[in-house]
């Protein structure tokens, strides 16, 4: 985010700033996106792979284990309890969950049409259905199920209020699940929303102007972090990354060249050895 960016004003937000600082960024798409579009948020310089950070979670709590819910693992320290109440979800990862809200609008002749962002299907199927589970108990009232726990320190809302839909709330909130899958490198992106292609005649996102509304909650300035929003389609090989292609071409040509050289060498010198003049 450049200083000129409209979000510059929000640099000094803190976790519990209410109301959230909002800003809007306008951008233009040169080409239209034909197929489904993936909307990512990217963070850089964010060390999600820090050793203590990575450890700071309780998988059995997230799996809906009731005893862990009230008595989280020690690994979560110091985000284990808050005011003698167990935190759910505990740990540093959960505590630092990305909580900006992004909204995308298409600007078509100065009219902003919101683009439908689908928030389900962004997490691994196994995570959503196997690894992450809400605590079990009587009824489906999450509020009751999370009784006796408290929200993570940095969160504005408790975990059972992450979403309105019951199958995307609590621990099985997909935004939460995506965040909990810690990134490998300090510069990473995470899937935020999907934009599905509506019909076969229209591209998913036409070329043109768009604007992005950001409810800026997540402070990254303290560690020189940056936020990004990425829109990307996906091929059969996954996201767009030219590296492998270049690598293959380079290595292939090197190998070919070496092959020729070796063939030449073999022809010239290879026979010499069969005469096997072992000295001594």
């Amino acid at each position: 985010i450049k200083p000129s960016s409209p979000c510059n004003k929000c640099l000094n937000v803190s976790w519990d700033s209410t109301p959230p600082c909002t800003c809007t960024i306008n951008f233009t798409l040169e080409h239209s996106f034909e197929s489904n579009v993936f909307m990512y948020y990217g963070l850089s310089n964010f060390y999600q792979n820090h050793r203590r950070y990575v450890k700071s979670r309780d998988d059995s709590q997230l799996n809906g284990d009731n005893s862990s819910l009230l008595n989280p693992s020690k690994e979560c320290e110091p985000y284990r309890t808050n005011e003698d109440k167990p935190i759910a979800p505990c740990g540093a990862i959960a505590n630092s969950m990305f909580n900006d809200t992004l909204e995308l609008y298409r600007i078509d002749n100065d009219t902003r049409t919101p683009i439908t962002l689908i928030k389900k299907g962004i997490a691994w199927w196994t995570d959503k259905n196997v690894k992450f589970r809400n605590p079990t108990g009587d009824g489906n009232n999450l509020t009751a199920l999370f009784q006796g726990t408290t929200k993570p320190v940095n969160w504005p809302k408790p975990v059972y209020m992450l979403d309105s839909e019951p199958d995307n709330n609590g621990f099985i909130n997909e935004d939460f699940i995506v965040w909990m899958r810690t990134a490998a490198l300090p510069t990473f992106r995470k899937l935020y929303r999907l934009i599905e292609r509506k019909n076969n005649f229209q591209p998913t996102l036409q070329a043109g102007k768009y604007s992005l509304d950001i409810a800026y909650n997540y402070p990254v300035h303290s560690f020189d972090g940056r936020k990004r929003m990425i829109l990307s389609t996906i091929s059969w090989m996954g996201g767009k990354n030219p590296f492998l292609g270049i690598a293959y071409i380079t290595v292939g040509s090197i190998c070919f060249f070496l092959g020729v050289v070796l063939l030449f060498i073999h022809h010239k010198y290879g026979n010499r050895n069969t005469s096997a003049d072992i000295p001594n």
């Binding site: 950070y53 997230l62 284990d65 059969w236 492998l244 690598a247 005469s275």
Partner: protein
């Protein structure tokens, strides 16, 4: 009441002996009542006879073993790391998980140790539970007890052939003279018998020895390890003192022979016995490779520390950059909610990172190496080539941890007797009064023993044909053949069993193999002996004086008499203790006093009594003897039968070779009693000589202490009265007997000794006297023959005689008796007196005895030499013998210069060494002058005239000089001299000296040493050397028990070293390097990651993978390679011993290689890290979905790396690599699917499954290993093609077909000889050096030229040979057949073969056709060249060479085909025409 030496080494002594406390020990009878022994309680501290070599007991095993394992620094390190994991502030993994590999490794090692200790325990148990007879006070008789129960002071009774349980003072013997024979083979490796004597005073006891009455106290030395010394006193009740010498001591481990019963008191027991003290405790051997490896492990530690330090500093900076206040959201504070200061954080991190990076120190390295070594040992065990049928033994690897040292040996220290030689003396040739009897047939017979089986099979048909042809063949011999055939079938079927039986027999008595006993007499000499005997017979009957006999015959007669009686051979019957056929009435002790002499030699007795009395005594003794033997033979029918059979078969053989039927008759009709006699001698030579004499019908039938009975043809049994026996000693180098001749009544001295001394003692003969002239001639002739014998490597002995007049004898006797009776320096005086009588000798003749070398010893030595090994022979034998053997086994060459060091004092030794060194140095700098002149100062420098200045040197040094040379002041000089010599020979060295020499070389030259020996005298040497090899042969098991490897024969050393040693070394070296590489590469991946995780010590690789990667996923292929990889096949290694040098020079594992590997590992890890990094850069990938591909890539890279390094591919290699990869995927899949909430923090649920559905994963996995391995692959190819090492050349050699290989190898050898002789021009060697096709091309060009028929003929022969070979290959390889078809030469093989056949039958063919034939064969050879290199060479190339050849051959064909086809038979020529036509068509086509 048994204390082990560690507990009670120094037994306390009674106060009155405090003065001598430190030097002596007191031994009392244990039978005395305890009341009489106030200090009994103290005395029991003396060591008992229990043997304990185990390290652990059941209780102490766990703590002690753990303690020992923690001596290994690596183990401590790993445990430390594992424990570090329990500290919460720094832990990186789950603590329990981190502990697993360490525990696994400790457990594996502990189990191995336990197993080893158990086997030791069992062998101890076996020895401890051997039984012997110990006198019991309660029961008043000897009762059977276990060895371990024997205590100092006990009385032990031993029977014949029993092994002595402890060091025992001999107190009584069933032998009337108080003698006892022991075989010390277990102790010093000499199989001869040694005499031991009962302590003097006890000998004089009239009654039976009664232990209860033994009240004397024995005061003797403290236990020490000097086998050749024992001093002490026995103090009798009366206060009298008697000296004790080593002659009174029976040593533990020896065997009683020839004596029915002995009894004695135990002086030293258990670990204090001399035998065990001579065994230095086992040394923990660490192989050289391991030492080097440990150094590199330390480097690894350093690298690790640097990496950790780097990370720690990095982390400190990283924490610091965020400052105090602005803590980022991802920096998790400690449990107490406070953030760590940068410094503290980095300190913690340092420890964490050590845990994370611990894999850099290969934890599984040690355990893998141990596993690999065990497997290697197993495969060495499986090698059929190292199995010896004769002894039914095979190689044993007793040390599991030094297999690779076998591949790095630089010095070999070998024992001689029993190691290089069989320790079986065989009479080979002799010369009597200047006439040589070459005993050719004897030699033939000996040669036959080389291949006993083939000879046996051939013998029967041969006998048939020969006997038909042989006109002299009598009826009897036919019968013999018939019988021998009937027995032969039996023999062949049961030859194995028989061999066993024979070996059992031979264990009872030292020398009994037929090879030594049956000597084929030289017909000429036999005739002379018979003639001589006849003359004597006549003379005796006619009372004629002996002098009528011609001097030559006289010499012959005396020669054999000397052979027979001039020794200490004892006559026994098999399977029975020596029966002393003894008439008490006739007992005559050796002349003891002057009075005795006078009494005995009074004229009356001399004139009247002599003949009659001797003959009468003879008769009695003979009859008794006969009687004894016949009873004997009935009792031991089995062995008699066996003997008879052998005899028969053997005599049949003799007949086959056309021997006089008389011999057969004696053999068949000869009395069985004669065959029954066995001779047991102190040295094998003596026995060999006696057996030789027996072959000439002059057999020793009995020996008493005062008379010797000799059975002679025609004469019957003569008994010689032995007046004195002057035993052999190494200074005089001779022995003599003084006897009274029964026929002439003269007093004769027969002397037998080394030629060098005996020749100097001969009677000086005047040159004017014709008789003297003759003598001189004889002498010079004999000397010539002696030299010849020596060249042949025979042990030479001179036989001489002196006739003494009574006066002379009396005069000498007086001084001799004085000498004998003196107590002070008695030995010195006896020596002087011996010198006095052994002079003015008359030379009778000389003998050549062969100490037969083991099979293949010279070849093995030559081959080991070629391999760059220095061979030293350390022997206890005397110098002459040792030198002879050294010549025989090509250790010394005759064109070698030999430096002999014999010094009498340290000073002279120093001077001598100095001079030799200077001399050698001057020689090496090519400034040879009359240095030899300096050397003649009191020593015996041997500088045989040598033509070449630069000839190699041999050093011969004797035991005493060696002792001086080994002193610290001189050892450097000695080594400097020895280093220059090609071979070193140490004679008369004691076991301790042997080990000192080895130690010297090992420590000073920093060389790898190997000691090989078979006897207990080699034990200390074997233990000191880096590698100890025992020969499990005839001489007990002591050497084997001490050795690291035990082989049945010396020749097996070749394969053990050159093949297995090389393999083990190269495998292990490669494996160790690979290990370092692997771990470094893996850890570096983690290190690179630290740059991207704020140096926080986190790892992208799941901890399970991280910990078990080494243990499971990547270990199997490398183990397989470590066990099975053969860099060069065995045949090539044997054929080209030079390849062994790679091990000596540590070529496979040099320090720079470690660093090269490290750099390569860094590079590879960079590739393996950054390709996934860039692939997944700025993507939504999570840690473990990113780490798993990296792990996979690393695994692929590591396994492919191994694939590049692997030299041989077998099914196991393939399968292990594939298995490892499959295992990884399988484990990953299962692990990732097993539990959604387990294994925090990684929790890799479904990661692998997801990855495997992602094509990017596969793409990265393919490209990364390729890029990572490209440089190494390139290097290997380029280096292998452009600058191949010897080993690679050897490998290529093996890829060629066998024929080409043999050809190349012969060329190689030829080249070598060329280089050595430097006779042939470069061009020739070039043509030889070029490969086979070149060679043939050259010959092909030469064939059209006109050459002499002979050369063509010979060339042709060569070609046909080659052709036959090609035919074989064609049949062998289907590929070859395909090639044939492609070359459109169907049926060419058949037709050619036929034509060749016809050619070989019809020898009258004109040579022009031969040339033509040759062209054909050449052509065919050319067309079949692809067969030779059917794998490597491309088809086009071969056909091109074929076409190139076609014109040249084709041009000749039309001209010559018609001419020669007429001379050939029809069908053949047809075929030939066909072939020719076919060929013409083809050649036309190609032109």
């Amino acid at each position: 009441p048994c204390a082990l030496p560690a507990a009670g080494r120094r037994p306390p002594h009674p106060p009155r002996l405090r003065r001598g406390e430190s030097k002596t020990r007191l031994v009392r009878s244990s039978l005395l009542l305890p009341e009489a022994e106030p200090e009994k309680s103290k005395r029991t501290v003396l060591a008992c006879n229990r043997l304990k070599t185990t390290k652990y007991t059941a209780l102490s095993f766990l703590p002690k073993n753990l303690f020992e394992q923690f001596h290994r620094l690596a183990n401590v390190y790993f445990v430390f790391i594992a424990l570090l994991n329990f500290v919460p502030a720094v832990n990186a993994f789950q603590p329990e998980l981190a502990l697993a590999p360490v525990l696994f490794i400790l457990a594996v090692t502990a189990i191995k140790d336990l197993w080893e200790d158990y086997s030791r325990y069992r062998s101890d148990q076996e020895i401890n539970h051997m039984e012997c007879l110990v006198y019991s006070r309660n029961e008043k008789k000897y009762i059977s007890r276990y060895w371990k129960e024997v205590k100092v002071g006990d009385f032990v009774q031993l029977r014949c052939n029993e092994i002595i349980p402890a060091d025992i003072l001999l107190l009584s013997s069933s032998d009337p003279d108080g003698l006892c024979h022991i075989e010390t083979a277990n102790l010093d490796g000499e199989t001869n018998l040694k005499q031991r004597q009962v302590v003097r005073r006890f000998l004089e006891l009239d009654s039976e020895f009664d232990p209860l009455k033994f009240t004397s106290v024995i005061e003797c030395e403290k236990p020490n390890n000097d086998l050749s010394r024992f001093r002490g006193y026995i103090i009798h009740k009366s206060g009298k003192k008697d000296g004790l010498f080593k002659e009174n001591l029976l040593l533990r481990g020896c065997t009683i022979r020839n004596t029915e019963e002995v009894a004695g008191i135990v002086i030293y027991a258990g670990h204090e016995t001399k035998a065990l003290l001579n065994n230095n405790g086992p040394r923990y051997k660490r192989s050289k490779l391991e030492r080097q490896m440990n150094a590199d492990v330390l480097w690894c530690v350093l690298i690790l520390l640097i990496m950790c330090l780097f990370s720690a500093i990095g982390h400190g900076l990283w924490v610091w950059q965020y400052g105090e206040k602005k803590k980022p959201i991802f920096d998790v504070p400690g449990p107490d909610g406070k953030y760590l200061s940068p410094v503290l954080a980095s300190v913690y991190l340092f420890l964490t990172v050590i845990i994370v990076f611990q894999v850099l120190i290969p934890i599984s390295l040690y355990v893998s190496i141990e596993i690999v070594k065990i497997c290697q040992v197993y495969f060495i065990h499986q090698d059929k080539d190292l199995y010896d049928e004769e002894t039914d033994s095979q190689l044993q690897c007793r040390a599991l941890n030094i297999t690779e040292d076998l591949g790095q040996v630089q010095f070999i220290f070998s024992d001689k007797t029993g190691t290089l030689t069989e320790n079986k003396m065989v009479f080979r040739r002799c010369t009597v009064s200047g006439i040589e009897y070459s005993h050719d047939d004897n030699a033939k017979r000996l040669a036959m023993y080389q291949e006993p089986d083939s000879e046996e099979e051939e013998a029967a048909p041969k006998a048939g044909t020969l006997s038909q042809r042989d006109s002299i063949c009598s009826h009897q011999s036919i019968k013999v053949i018939h019988r021998s055939q009937s027995t032969k079938t039996h023999r062949r079927t049961g030859s194995r069993a028989e061999a066993k039986r024979a070996s059992i027999l031979s264990k009872h008595t030292a020398f009994s193999s037929p090879m030594e006993k049956d000597i084929t007499p030289d017909p000429r000499l036999l005739e002379k002996v018979n003639e001589c005997a006849k003359h004597l017979e006549v003379m005796r009957s006619h009372e004629q004086p002996l002098s009528h006999l011609s001097p030559e015959l006289c010499d012959v007669f005396d020669f054999f008499i000397a052979l027979t009686i001039c020794n200490t051979v004892v006559v026994t019957a098999p399977n029975q203790p020596r029966q002393k056929v003894r008439d008490r009435f006739e007992l005559k002790s050796p002349v003891k006093t002057i009075e005795d002499f006078i009494r005995r030699f009074t004229p009356s007795r001399l004139t009247a009594g002599s003949n009659s009395s001797s003959s009468s005594s003879l008769a009695t003794s003979k009859s008794m003897h006969r009687f004894g033997l016949s009873t004997l033979s009935s009792t031991s029918t089995d062995s008699t039968l066996l003997k008879l059979e052998e005899k028969l078969a053997y005599s049949a053989q003799m007949n086959n070779y056309g021997y006089s039927s008389q011999q057969g008759r004696t053999a068949v009709g000869g009395t069985p009693e004669e065959g029954e006699l066995r001779y047991e001698a102190e040295s094998p030579d003596e026995a060999a000589l006696v057996y030789a004499a027996r072959a000439y019908n002059c057999s020793l039938v009995g020996r008493l202490s005062d008379q010797v009975s000799v059975e002679l043809p025609h004469l019957g049994t003569l008994s010689f009265e032995v007046l004195h026996t002057l035993g052999f000693d190494s200074i005089r180098k001779r022995m003599s007997v003084v006897v009274r001749h029964p026929l002439t009544d003269e007093i004769n001295v027969y002397t037998k000794g080394a030629d060098s001394v005996v020749m100097d003692l001969l009677l000086p003969c005047s040159s004017d006297d014709p008789r003297g002239k003759h003598q001189k001639k004889i002498r010079s002739k004999t000397q010539n023959y002696l030299n010849l014998y020596a060249v042949d490597g025979l042990r030479t002995l001179c036989i001489a005689k002196r006739v003494l007049s009574k006066e002379e004898y009396g005069c000498w006797l007086k001084t001799h008796l004085e000498a004998e009776s003196s107590i002070e320096n008695r030995e010195e005086l006896l020596f002087q007196s011996a010198l006095r009588i052994e002079k003015n000798l008359h030379l009778l003749g000389a003998t050549g005895i062969e100490d037969r070398l083991q099979d293949g010893v010279p070849e093995t030595i030559a081959s080991l030499r070629k391999a760059g090994l220095q061979i030293w022979v350390l022997t206890g034998d005397k110098q002459e013998t040792a030198v002879n053997i050294a010549y025989a086994c090509k250790l010394l060459d005759h064109d070698e210069e030999i430096i002999t060091l014999n010094a009498e004092s340290p000073e002279t030794c120093a001077v001598l060494l100095e001079q030799c060194l200077q001399c050698v140095q001057s020689k090496f700098s090519n400034t040879i002058d009359g240095a030899t002149g300096n050397m003649t100062v009191g020593f015996t420098p041997l500088y045989p005239p040598s033509s070449s200045v630069l000839s190699s040197l041999g050093l011969v040094i004797d035991g005493r000089t060696l002792a001086y040379a080994l002193e610290p002041a001189l050892e450097d000089k000695f080594l400097a001299l020895a280093k220059r010599c090609r071979s070193v020979l140490c004679c008369r060295s004691t076991p301790l000296q042997k080990s000192m020499v080895v130690k010297l070389v090992r420590d000073k030259l920093k060389a790898m040493t190997l000691a090989i020996g078979d006897g207990a005298n080699d034990v200390s040497m074997i233990q000191v050397a880096d590698v100890g090899v025992g020969i499990s042969g005839q001489e007990g098991m002591q050497a084997v028990m001490a050795s690291d490897f035990a082989i049945p024969r010396f020749r097996h050393l070749e394969k053990l070293l050159l093949v297995h040693g090389h393999w083990c070394y190269s495998r292990l070296a490669n494996m160790v390097l690979y290990f370092f590489y692997k771990n470094a590469m893996f850890v570096a991946l983690l290190f690179w990651y630290q740059f991207y995780c704020g140096f926080s010590g986190s790892s992208m690789i799941d901890q399970w993978y991280l910990i078990f990667f080494n243990l499971f996923f990547s270990s199997l292929p490398q183990l397989i390679t470590g066990v099975l990889d053969k860099d060069v096949p065995a045949e090539v290694l044997i054929a080209v011993p030079q390849l062994y040098k790679s091990g000596q020079n540590m070529e496979e594992y040099q320090p720079h290689m470690f660093w090269m590997n490290m750099i390569d590992a860094m590079y590879q890890s960079l590739v393996c890290f950054f390709i996934p990094y860039f692939t997944y850069y700025d993507s939504e990938v999570d840690i473990f979905s990113w780490g798993t591909p990296i792990t996979t890539i690393a695994l692929f890279t590591i396994i492919l790396h191994l694939a590049i390094e692997t030299k041989t591919w077998t099914f196991l290699h393939w399968s292990s690599c594939i298995f490892s990869i499959i295992l990884f995927f399988f484990v990953a899949l299962v692990y990732n699917a097993s539990c959604p909430v387990c294994h925090p923090p990684s929790n890799p649920y479904w990661t692998m499954e997801r990855l495997m559905g992602d094509p990017v994963f596969y793409f990265t996995c393919i490209i990364s290993p390729v890029v990572a391995l490209l440089p190494r692959f390139l290097y290997r190819t380029l280096q292998g093609t452009l600058f191949p090492t010897q080993l690679q050349l050897g490998r290529q050699l093996s890829k060629l077909s066998p024929e080409t290989r043999t050809q190349l190898l012969t060329e190689l050898n030829v080249k070598e000889t060329i280089r050595q002789t430097q006779l042939l021009a470069d061009s020739f060697s070039l043509s030889l050096g070029s490969n086979a096709s070149h060679c043939y091309r050259a010959k092909n060009q030469s064939t059209p030229l006109p050459a002499s028929p002979q050369t063509r003929e010979s060339l042709f022969r060569e070609h046909t040979k080659a052709e036959h070979k090609t035919d074989q290959t064609a049949a062998a390889s289907p590929q070859g057949a395909v090639l044939y078809e492609e070359n459109k030469l169907p049926s060419s093989a058949g037709s050619l073969e036929r034509s060749v056949e016809s050619l070989s039958v019809g020898t009258t063919l004109p040579w022009s056709s031969a040339v033509d034939q040759e062209d054909f064969s050449l052509l065919k050879w050319i067309t079949s060249t692809p067969l030779f290199s059917h794998i490597g060479t491309v088809l086009q190339v071969s056909s091109r060479t074929c076409f190139a050849k076609v014109p040249s051959c084709g041009r000749q064909l039309p001209v010559e085909v018609p001419a020669c086809s007429t001379s050939l038979l029809g069908p053949v020529s047809n075929c030939w025409d066909d072939f020719a036509g076919d060929f013409l068509v083809r050649s036309a086509g190609c032109i």
